[in-house]
Symmetry: C2
Subunit: 151 residues, 2 copies
DNA sequence: ATTGCTGCAAAACGTTTGCACCTAT
DNA sequence: ATAGGTGCAAACGTTTTGCAGCAAT
């Protein structure tokens, strides 16, 4: 177990919710934290299969939901109809710029957004939980964009 | 045809893109503009079917894409894996607060967001196209929330 | 002993596609 | 005449579900 601290958080979360502590769940946790960048549930499942894991697709899907509930990973939506996740353990909260031509996803941090979240929720009288701010763009120079050109 | 002005915009857009002008496309336009609030492609299709329209599901899906391209409607993503649309004809650009408990969607307008869009895109050197800012929340008083309680 | 979890396959869901026919140009 | 659109049903990709057996409590 490489991320003992994350595992402790997950174990505590499972206990409090009267969920069982199973080796499969910790396998998924570890794979999710190791994954570089954004991944879909199926991508993670395939990666784990290739790594000779015997965890099932259903378990991967369900465990990712649990991990998102306890904020060890974040759920993202980039406009395709697909849930994506990324590790949020020991990582600063950030937002995403998506290029609709080349598919690149650039992360950025802007401190105003979480202030806006607090402010607007207060005004409308809702309890904030999370927010998403996505910028959909097109890269300027297709000729110089290696991501666009390699497609 | 109730929305002559929108129809003109659509007709012009179709011509410029060498798309044909068909009665089916204008039927979808009209239904989309009449729909109150947010709708999925399938919801619109079902509604049209119930209204005795003979337009096919495929045509609805494709026409909604065209309508979004010429900004007569806006494409939204509220975190479920489903494309949602809403009329944006003669309507101010706005963002959404989603209550994850009762399902309510509240619209709000905040002028800072489009400034942020411009600013961040400039800094990262991308051409802005659109953005989405969603606040995921929980309503504060379940007891007094009629949306929560009617479920 | 009792739930709850797992793996598997099947089903569900929204969406896209292939194709023969039709229609706007 | 011809390119493009339509309707239908089948295919698609992601996610969820039902269920029998298994394992954590």
């Amino acid at each position: 177990m490489k991320n003992k601290q994350a595992a402790d958080i997950f174990r505590e979360f499972l206990k409090n919710g009267k969920n069982r502590i199973t080796p499969e769940r910790f396998e998924v946790l570890e794979a999710a934290l190791e994954f570089e960048g954004h991944f879909s549930a199926d991508e993670l499942y395939i990666m784990m299969k290739n790594g000779k894991s015997r965890v099932s697709r259903a378990t991967v899907y369900k465990t990712l939901e649990l991990l998102a509930s306890c904020d060890l990973i974040s759920l993202r939506n980039f406009g395709d109809n697909m849930k994506r996740y990324e590790s949020s353990f020991k990582k600063q909260n950030h937002d995403h710029l998506i290029c609709m031509d080349c598919g690149r996803i650039v992360e950025f941090i802007n401190p105003i957004l979480s202030k806006l979240e607090t402010e607007i929720c207060k005004e409308l009288d809702f309890e904030p939980s999370s927010y998403s701010f996505n910028l959909f763009t097109r890269c300027k120079n297709k000729k110089n964009c290696k991501y666009y050109n390699e497609k």
